[in-house]
């Protein structure tokens, strides 16, 4: 039985009368690649925001690396890395400076900072571009730098909200190759949301499909594909079955504009 690094129990978040996340319960093992799928507005981003301590839950509890997100927020923050959906590196600083500031904010020992930054730049294939302003980077480079920044302190769990949104297929593959390598090298648990089913299929150990704030289905890709009965189905069929085909799905104006803005900035 492997160690549980993320334990979510009846986690709920309400915005007025609307329940964005409804009694979510699931656990993720250390070193696992876990995907959270669902249509826009299903509650994926709200879930990630609660787990990264950015949004307090209305009720329920979660423990990340054995720390409570409600009572031990600072310890949780030290144990995680977070790559938000929107661009999170500063275009008016160089790649190196973007990493240096996080090395300092996460209290990396002074003598280790330079080595750690060089390693991170090398790992992400950005050594030659470390001295350039991030405003001049391509979308794929920006994402790689964001991942480097979020993992400089070697977090136990890395949360990624739509890590490949707005990237072309080549840049997407490059990002995933690095994430998979990182898991192999440091044992980082990856918890991510995505709209791309093929990414979930090729990289997830397990996944959950969220619908209206609840987990509609949970398991490995194989388990989900056979869960509908009557022989194997494609993941796309499984997704439609659980996440519904409602025409009004697709999130609210804010979600959609934020996602398109990110896609435009990276693309």
């Amino acid at each position: 039985m492997s160690e549980i690094v993320l334990e979510i129990k009846s986690l709920t978040r309400r915005f007025g009368a609307f329940t964005a996340v409804d009694a979510l319960t699931l656990s993720v093992n250390a070193g696992e690649v876990f995907g959270l799928l669902g249509s826009n507005g299903a509650g994926k981003t709200t879930t990630i925001k609660m787990l990264t301590t950015l949004l307090p839950p209305s009720s329920g509890e979660a423990r990340v690396a054995s720390f409570s997100i409600t009572t031990q927020a600072v310890s949780v923050r030290r144990s995680i890395g977070y790559v938000p959906q929107a661009v999170s590196v500063d275009g008016s600083l160089t790649g190196y400076e973007n990493l240096l500031i996080f090395a300092k904010l996460y209290d990396l020992p002074h003598r280790e900072q330079q080595a750690r930054i060089s390693q991170a730049l090398e790992f992400m294939g950005l050594t030659a571009d470390g001295g350039r302003l991030v405003g001049q980077y391509s979308g794929g480079m920006v994402r790689r730098l964001e991942i480097a920044q979020a993992t400089l302190h070697r977090p136990r769990v890395l949360f990624l909200d739509e890590p490949t949104v707005g990237l072309d297929p080549i840049a997407r593959d490059a990002v995933w190759k690095l994430l998979v390598d990182m898991r192999a090298k440091y044992g980082t648990t990856l918890f991510f949301t995505t709209h791309y089913l093929e990414e979930a299929e090729s990289h997830c150990d397990r996944m959950a499909i969220m619908h209206l704030g609840k987990v509609a289905a949970l398991g490995t890709c194989k388990e989900l594909e056979t869960s509908l009965g009557g022989g194997a189905h494609t993941l796309s069929e499984v997704f439609v079955h659980y996440a519904g085909t409602a025409l009004d799905s697709g999130g609210n104006f804010h979600d959609v504009s934020a996602e398109r803005a990110t896609a435009q900035r990276l693309g």
């Binding site: 301590t53 950015l54 959906q85 929107a86 999170s88 904010l105 209290d107 020992p109």
Partner: protein, 217 residues
């Protein structure tokens, strides 16, 4: 995990300076901001100040009009830039930068104070501009080190305070449009109800009272 234990207060001060350092590093890459900051005080002193100085319409006692408005223009320009500082944070929030900082173990107050302090240091550039122009226009300046230090300290402190206030407004209003509206509503009354460009003696009684309460005065 390589984090070592650091006393919370030391950590707070250290993190505040880290945030300030990186805000100031941005100036190294692009200093056009410093030039645009210089524009407004230059216009007030070179055009408004010169014209009103010649017209003799403002009675400022035995002090020449330009000498009277130079410190007012410095305070005004520092205040205006500081009050609009919060818009940066709205921009960073629309991107994901703020969220990433908030998900890090950095104390919240250090994020705000660090940014505010960097705005304080940036406003030193306006001090240099106003002193330079004043020198050019023949304004009588007090060059004693103590007086200079006093000015620098007040400028940095005022800019830090007002930009921190601006960051709070930004967190409340959340959108750029609303923020610009609030900024305008704040700056214009503060400016006109102060003794920046005319003495309080010529104001009607009710305005004098407001002017005395006004931090810009």
């Amino acid at each position: 995990m390589t984090a070592t234990f650091i006393h919370p207060l030391t950590a707070f001060i250290e993190k505040t300076f880290v945030i300030t350092e990186f805000e100031l590093r941005k100036l190294r890459h692009d200093f056009t901001e410093l030039i645009t900051r210089a524009l407004q005080p230059a216009l007030w002193l070179l055009i408004f100040g010169q014209v009103f100085s010649r017209s003799g319409a403002m009675h400022t006692g035995n002090i020449p009009y330009l000498d009277f408005i130079a410190p007012g223009i410095l305070a005004q320009s520092v205040l205006f830039v500081a009050i609009f500082y919060g818009i940066n944070v709205i921009w960073e929030r629309d991107l994901g930068i703020v969220q990433k900082f908030l998900a890090s173990p950095t104390p919240r107050a250090a994020l705000v104070l660090g940014k505010g302090f960097s705005a304080g240091i940036r406003s030193l550039s306006q001090t240099a501009i106003v002193y330079g122009l004043s020198l050019l226009l023949g304004v009588k300046l007090n060059w004693s080190p103590l007086a200079l230090l006093n000015v620098l300290l007040i400028v940095v402190l005022a800019a830090t305070l007002f930009s921190t206030f601006s960051l709070i407004i930004a967190c409340i209003v959340k959108t750029r449009e609303r923020f610009m509206g609030v900024g305008q509503v704040l700056t214009m009354p503060l400016f006109f109800a102060s003794n920046a460009i005319y003495p309080t003696d010529i104001m009607p009684g009710w305005l004098k009272v407001i002017s005395h309460l006004n931090p810009l005065t």
